[in-house]
């Protein structure tokens, strides 16, 4: 299954894209390089969310908590604890994953909406603590000017660093997506009762997925700090969580790469709309409504359906779904 024209085209496309991305910083203005880096970070975050939402069917309503925890952990380790960067870089996502484990463990006992609500309340709790613990986190002001090693301090350096880890993480996620673990996760999304009936410990599986997803969210948080050199409580605010949710929806949450596409579109739109008007949220809201009415499977899902209905003769390869 899967050795056919469509996957070869995909590989070629990705290779071409990769080459383009490698050379881009030397030809485009610095601002665009920055935007691209931001897209990568956001895309990683969206993909990590999709691991549990799109593939797992969990109502992870407050994913950004883990993003923020990763970012803050990284920032605090460097500024307050004075730890070397590489150590913080490894430790911060672990902190996120730990948070994911604890929060996840509390939440998996519940289903659907209640899972989501408990997570929102726990996440808001953490947000509130971050917001108020001025001495540690500088509250609303955030922490600025976090020092980075010279090689990645500049826009271009940051770009390559982020790109590298983005690609690495994506590869790992893809492998997981294709693995028995990933497949069973999707089965659990469709029918958790049936999974239990065939001998799968649903809760443990879901918890593992959550920990993995939060780990990646933590990495995204760290990359954010590398890019922006600052952290602030809004990273943990539920509005951001919901925005990431929308990115997954926009891109198509049953596909693999959909959320990344959604993130790219969102960030790009936000930047360019922002040039013309300050009413970005209005545009976002209208866009969302449009999506809900016409494209519930997201852009990627839409493309997929078109491809599948046209390529019926070929065996539908495992490229995306």
């Amino acid at each position: 299954m899967g050795k056919n024209g469509s996957s070869r085209i995909t590989v070629l496309f990705l290779a071409a894209l990769g080459i383009v991305l490698l050379f881009l910083p030397s030809i485009i203005p610095r601002f665009y390089t920055y935007i691209l880096s931001l897209i990568f970070v956001t895309a990683l975050l969206a993909m990590s969310l999709n691991m549990v939402v799109g593939h797992g069917g969990l109502f992870q309503f407050h994913h950004c908590v883990f993003y923020g925890v990763g970012a803050y952990a990284f920032a605090l380790m460097i500024t307050k604890a004075g730890l070397p960067m590489w150590l913080s870089f490894i430790a911060a996502p672990l902190a996120s994953a730990l948070a994911g484990l604890m929060i996840g463990w509390l939440c998996v006992r519940l289903t659907k909406l209640y899972f989501g609500m408990l997570q929102i309340s726990l996440g808001s709790l953490i947000w509130a603590i971050t917001f108020r613990w001025y001495s540690l986190t500088h509250g609303d002001d955030g922490i600025h000017g976090i020092p980075m090693p010279g090689s990645i301090a500049g826009t271009t350096g940051a770009y390559y660093f982020i790109l590298l880890f983005f690609v690495l993480c994506l590869l790992v996620m893809y492998v997981i997506f294709k693995s028995p673990f990933g497949m069973t996760l999707q089965a659990m999304r469709d029918n958790p009762d049936r999974c239990a009936a065939v001998g799968i410990n649903v809760r443990r599986h879901q918890l593992t997925a959550i920990v993995a997803a939060t780990f990646f969210a933590g990495i995204a948080g760290v990359l954010f700090v590398v890019l922006e050199r600052t952290v602030f409580p809004d990273l943990l605010f539920w509005v951001l969580s919901l925005e990431v949710f929308i990115m997954c929806l926009l891109g198509g949450w049953f596909t693999f790469a959909g959320p990344a596409l959604g993130a790219a579109i969102t960030v790009a739109l936000r930047t360019f709309v922002g040039i013309y008007t300050e009413y970005w949220t209005l545009v976002l809201g209208t866009l969302l409504i449009f999506l809900i009415f016409f494209l519930p499977e997201g852009v990627m899902g839409f493309i997929h359906e078109k491809l599948e209905s046209r390529g019926r003769k070929e065996v539908p390869g495992p490229r995306g779904v």
Partner: protein, 247 residues
Amino acid sequence: MLRVENLYKSFDGFMAVNGAELLVEKGRRVAVIGPNGAGKTTLFNLITGQLKPDRGKVRLDDEEIGHLPPHEVCRRGIARSFQIANIFHRLNVFKNVQVSVLSRQKKSNRFFYPAHRMAVKETDRILESVGLLDRADDIAGSLSHGDQRILEIAIALGTEPQLLILDEPTAGMSPDETAATMTLIRRLSETQGLTILFCEHDMDVVFNTAQSIMVMYHGKTIIQAEPEEVRRNRTVQEAYLGGEEDA
């Protein structure tokens, strides 16, 4: 092999199962019959762990399993199909069964292997034995109702059970599909030595396939015996089999 003793389960005061008794011997085909609402599905749920009994015991080969969660019950060798088609509708047929096979092989947690290369032979074998091999790439949600029920059985088979519990396997099927399914069930029982417990409304099916029949009424077991004896039993005739002809 499986023994249900004095089982009770109530929901908010309504006694769904009110003293049920069942004996399933290894290698036999046992049917549970009873009018709608007699508690058959609840009984099955109690056996496979979706529900916990209020009172009474469920024993599998002398081990008490009434309190175990569904995945543990499955690990003990009991597999089950559901009354409402309970498949993974977004995955294709092959993957539907593969999930179950991988679970059996305890490989569901493997992260770093490509799934489509694992357990292919076993999955294909099961698909072939139920006649769905040629539909392996179709999305499960697109199958006809009858085929979905067969897929249900295939998924259950993926766990290599010793006891297969089927909840109304031929519900909603045409006469042809029903006959084919029951042939399949007989074949599974005879060639693979599977013990089969099922419940059905179609009396022809029951009396042609089952070697032992348990009759439930209002959650209570009235009798369990060979088909002929059940047919002759006065209480059963009054309570339930009055409409035997219209099955």
